[in-house]
Symmetry: C2
Subunit: 375 residues, 2 copies
Amino acid sequence: MIPGPTPVPERVLTALGRHPIGHRSKEFQALVERTNKQLRWLHQTEEEVLVITGSGTAAMEAGIINTLRKGDKVLCGENGKFGERWVKVAKAYGLEVEVIQSAWGTPLETDTFKERLEKDINKEIRAVIITHSETSTGVINDLEVISQHVKKHGKALTIADCVTSLGACNVPMDAWGIDVIASGSQKGYMMPPGLSFVALSQRAWQAYKKSDLPKFYLDLGQYLKAAKNNSNPFTPSVNLYFAMEKALEMMEKEGLKNIFSRHARHRSAIQAAMKAIGLPLFADEIHGSPAITAVAPEDFDAELLRKIVKENFDILLAGGQDHLKGKIFRIGHLGFVNDRDILTAIAAIETSVHSLGAGKNKLGEGLRAASDHII
Amino acid sequence: MIPGPTPVPERVLTALGRHPIGHRSKEFQALVERTNKQLRWLHQTEEEVLVITGSGTAAMEAGIINTLRKGDKVLCGENGKFGERWVKVAKAYGLEVEVIQSAWGTPLETDTFKERLEKDINKEIRAVIITHSETSTGVINDLEVISQHVKKHGKALTIADCVTSLGACNVPMDAWGIDVIASGSQKGYMMPPGLSFVALSQRAWQAYKKSDLPKFYLDLGQYLKAAKNNSNPFTPSVNLYFAMEKALEMMEKEGLKNIFSRHARHRSAIQAAMKAIGLPLFADEIHGSPAITAVAPEDFDAELLRKIVKENFDILLAGGQDHLKGKIFRIGHLGFVNDRDILTAIAAIETSVHSLGAGKNKLGEGLRAASDHII
């Protein structure tokens, strides 16, 4: 129950363990044609979704360095560890970064973006870079509204880290007019880590032509050209392609609506359970991520609870990162997770909290509160 | 029988198909500690071998952009498709590239490097970038001698693409004083593609401190820091780590000497067989790569032979790239390949050549010539 690597279905693992085939063979080309189509479905886009052998950071970095020029002014939303990372990437490439910050655990203020973009009369801002679901804090930022403000600005691009939102909640790339979406395989995709994904709007491809930041492995022009031939510019992680096809087949069978409602239901169940156990949520529940819930216990060290849950129930929860270590624990509910997994995790947490003498209500109240959302 | 993805042992595939574990868990940390040690053994080095989730190109690009500054003068050896690629990478990052060329199918002239380096009295050349085994032509370049010339220069670094040489022939990083070695998992490692490797000498790490080329995902300083903690800076391809441990265990059991002599034996067997069948080798046999042999038939289209061998025997040979398409076919003999595989491939090629009426000697002479090297 960590936010990635997430659980992987058996049939996906079986496909992963197939003997690799030549990446320039007709058989592989046919597979790429199928997975490219599946990826467009998942992103709700007509654009090509480009597959990079690499971590999610590679896809996000590619999105930034393929659409901007050295010295370009960008707004970076920062309300957690991943927001911080995109600030670092932008600075590493010599962009002029203006950070719009919110405290960790609170969402980015959409009005701050609105005002800042409206004030930019000379249209100097070239991009707004934000994290949709902030994995480090369990907060979902309002990508839809921020992207509307960017659209009104007319010149800037919306570059979004959707690593833990894609495949967990609705992120219709074309309908929302998002210019760059980056994601990674070990999240909503129900796959092991190792592949990452980035899709660019037509406006972003226009910006690509003018971009002057140096790149080769992450040069998306090469990936686009290859994608149009159902191929890859460099030797791809062939076995993860086998896994991807199976995982996306399962997702297609379940359907986007069902996938999103399952994640929403699990978020509600966990939020209700934590409150009933007497554990404060780290983020306000209306801004809770559909992928991960952070919990901030007041009466004991969060690392101690993680240890008990792991030892007694063999369930791995995520800890807090950086200054949040020991202060929060995080429950991943992303990807291949079903109702039973959620109830099991809640039962393990509730039992462990009571073993610490820290339950605020009768043992079982947490599970009961969760069940109201599940059944 | 292509030069990558190469065959993968069953036990490696089984490990690949395990359920992933958290990349920040103690269990994974212990695995990284073991594989880091194995990688140092394979590279014959005391330095850390850094693992990048990405293709071999990512590792090679990382080696270049982490050790050089914008405008630096570099010599690039170019006698095939991969040599060409490193020229492109160097130019993409604004390096001043001087190309030392040899015709495709011939090795780089070591004396040309010697002379050029000796002429550089002001020590302006910062690096010599070469491909050890040129996969596109089946030529092995003399990395040992060129690296000696670089050492005498005193200032330049040797940056080597060892993608199809590492694990096929002796590449003792420390003993030869190579500053940067890059490689990829789908070659001598007997693994599927998806991981790449780069190791830097202490001199290269000194250069890293002064390097000003922009990077984030490929910033090797982050990888070194993580490697010292048996970790990774970004979510790594966890399942390929499972596979890597098993593959390297098998390699350790066989031993470097045996691995190298197996590859040398297979190269000799294939060279002898092709000559006995009456098929000219594309590269002079003394410069033949231990990983791949390119064959240039005179009497028929190489693509036709590939088609017949695939259809009749289900053996995939590699074709020629770019202007060599149709002119050569390439036999991969790299990684998890045994004597039987070599004899089988030769028999399939010999039979197919005779079916085209193009055998210069009696059917069976090729196999007989190969057997002299195998038995």
